[in-house]
């Protein structure tokens, strides 16, 4: 288990957090204009890099707020 820095509460144990996957995935501005392929990508496809990854975390057992963190998916080390 590692410590994760909640921007609101400070460092807390990993078990207090819920993972939210890739950050910065915006809802399409005009969903009706999307092709089936574009819609499928929005719904199902997320980045899966080996290395630096901007991702969403929720301090589920603490302040319950969402935040964006940067973590390396190969080392699991948080950089921000």
């Amino acid at each position: 288990m590692q410590l994760i820095e909640c921007p609101y509460c400070g460092p807390r144990e990993e078990v207090e957090f819920h993972y939210g996957g890739q950050a910065g995935v915006a809802y399409p501005a005009d969903p009706a204009a999307l092709t089936d392929e574009e819609w499928g990508r929005f719904v199902f496809v997320r980045a899966n890099p080996k290395g630096r990854f901007e991702e969403r975390w929720s301090h589920a057992a603490g302040c319950r707020r969402w935040f964006t963190a940067v973590r390396d998916t190969a080392t699991y080390r948080f950089s921000r």
Binding site: G21, G40, F44, V45, K50
Partner: protein
């Protein structure tokens, strides 16, 4: 010292230098890649083939999985491919001419809630319609098959019954890989270790060369069998796919007398257990929540697994944890694999087996070889095409696969 050591046993395969060109390049020397190579040679006479492995043969998930083999999946599409695999398992030792210690000791999938019971009975009926052996067992019948399961009513999630597939089993994963590797090597296929793919050269919708840490290799067809690292390869090709790589952990206890005659899985309390031939209890559960390529996970996941195991099997409370490890699994939104065409006409994808790829090994090797040989998806893998995430024709196997594949 050296003069006291026994002679090195014969190597099961050569260690060739990569040639500059192959008809087929298989990326990934794990179970799926090696099985694909074997069936390319055996079923289709295609032997100008290289299997490229960035580490050592079968050193990724093939070395780390918990070796469960079963075919009791819900949907027709899944039943077809997994049952095809199970039938191949039943004759694999003979086909490979190599011992794989395939032991059909049966699998119990426990139900702990009313909804579990409904889902399980539905799955049993679906399995039977597909010609797959399946039974619904009451708690008393569960206790007859596996006496060490706690079927009393006073535990947190009492066992309401279980599905049972008697033909399910376990096999020795290393032997399976070595058996396939030996056969492929005998057929003249080059198994090239320590050879990482670092890029692709393309011409229109064709991949012409595979760039590797051991030089460029021209290719007729490419088959991607890289499991957890598939996204890394697809990113090089600019092909988006709904894959997420997660750590998946497993563990073994110290060696025990034979105490556990079958395989027990429980989705609801998140654990599955079998006993290896040597005597270790082999256990696993779900993936770590975050994306990860680290081949390790967090200890609280193990702790949760052990709590569930001790609740279900009170006698395990005295066993010691010997070793834990992790692999990297590529999971998909519908818990079914992604196999078949890519936007590149000569590149075939085999990915997304998530936590359950081992059991499929001979089946997918067979079907992927057939796909490569004929340039179209084998009927058993056709439903698992990448374009199902556009058409919406998902094959949702979360019920049969979610926690423990």
């Amino acid at each position: 010292m050296a003069e006291n050591l026994p002679e090195h046993p014969d190597f099961l395969w050569r260690t060739p230098e990569p040639r500059r060109s192959y008809d087929v390049v298989v990326v990934g020397g794990g179970g799926h890649g090696l099985a694909t190579a074997h069936y390319l040679a055996k079923n289709h006479g295609i032997t100008n083939v290289a299997v490229l492995e960035k580490g050592w043969l079968a050193g990724g998930n093939m070395a780390r999985n918990t070796t469960l083999i079963r075919s009791n999946y819900l949907w027709d599409e899944s039943a077809a491919i997994y049952e095809h695999a199970l039938k191949l398992w039943e004759g694999l030792e003979e086909d490979l001419g190599y011992p794989i210690l395939f032991s059909q000791r049966g699998v119990l999938n426990l139900a702990h809630t009313e909804q579990d019971v409904r889902d399980s009975v539905r799955r049993v009926e679906a399995n039977r319609l597909n010609g797959i052996d399946a039974e619904w067992l009451s708690p008393d019948e569960v206790a007859k098959i596996c006496p060490i399961v706690n079927v009393s009513g006073d535990i947190r999630y009492p066992v309401h019954g279980a599905t049972y597939q008697p033909r399910a089993g376990i096999a020795k994963h290393d032997y399976v890989a070595w058996g396939f590797a030996r056969r492929a090597d005998e057929a003249g296929i080059d198994l090239i270790q320590d050879c990482e793919v670092v890029g692709f050269e393309t011409d229109g919708d064709l991949v012409t060369r595979v760039r590797t840490t051991r030089g460029d290799i021209a290719c007729g067809t490419v088959a991607l069998c890289a499991a957890g690292h598939t996204s890394v390869l697809l990113d090089m090709l600019g092909v988006p796919a709904p894959l997420q790589s997660h750590p998946l952990q497993a563990l073994v206890s110290e060696l025990l007398e034979p105490v556990h005659p079958t395989i027990v899985m429980s989705n609801a309390v998140h654990v599955y257990v079998s006993q290896a031939h040597k005597g270790e209890l082999v256990m696993g559960a779900g993936v770590d929540s975050y994306n990860g390529y680290g081949q390790r996970g967090a200890f609280h996941i193990i702790e949760r697994q052990m709590a569930a195991a001790v609740e279900l099997f009170p006698m395990f409370a005295r066993a010691h944890l010997l070793r834990t490890w992790g692999g990297i699994v590529d999971v998909t939104p519908d818990a079914s694999p992604i196999v078949g065409h890519t936007p590149y006409a000569n590149v075939y994808l085999n990915s997304g087996w998530g936590t359950g790829g081992f059991k499929a090994t001979p089946g997918i090797g067979w079907c992927l070889a057939d796909t490569v040989a004929h340039g179209r998806p084998h009927p058993y893998v056709a439903p698992f095409a990448l374009d199902r995430f556009t058409t919406g024709a998902l094959v949702d196997e979360h019920g049969a696969a979610a926690v423990a594949h």
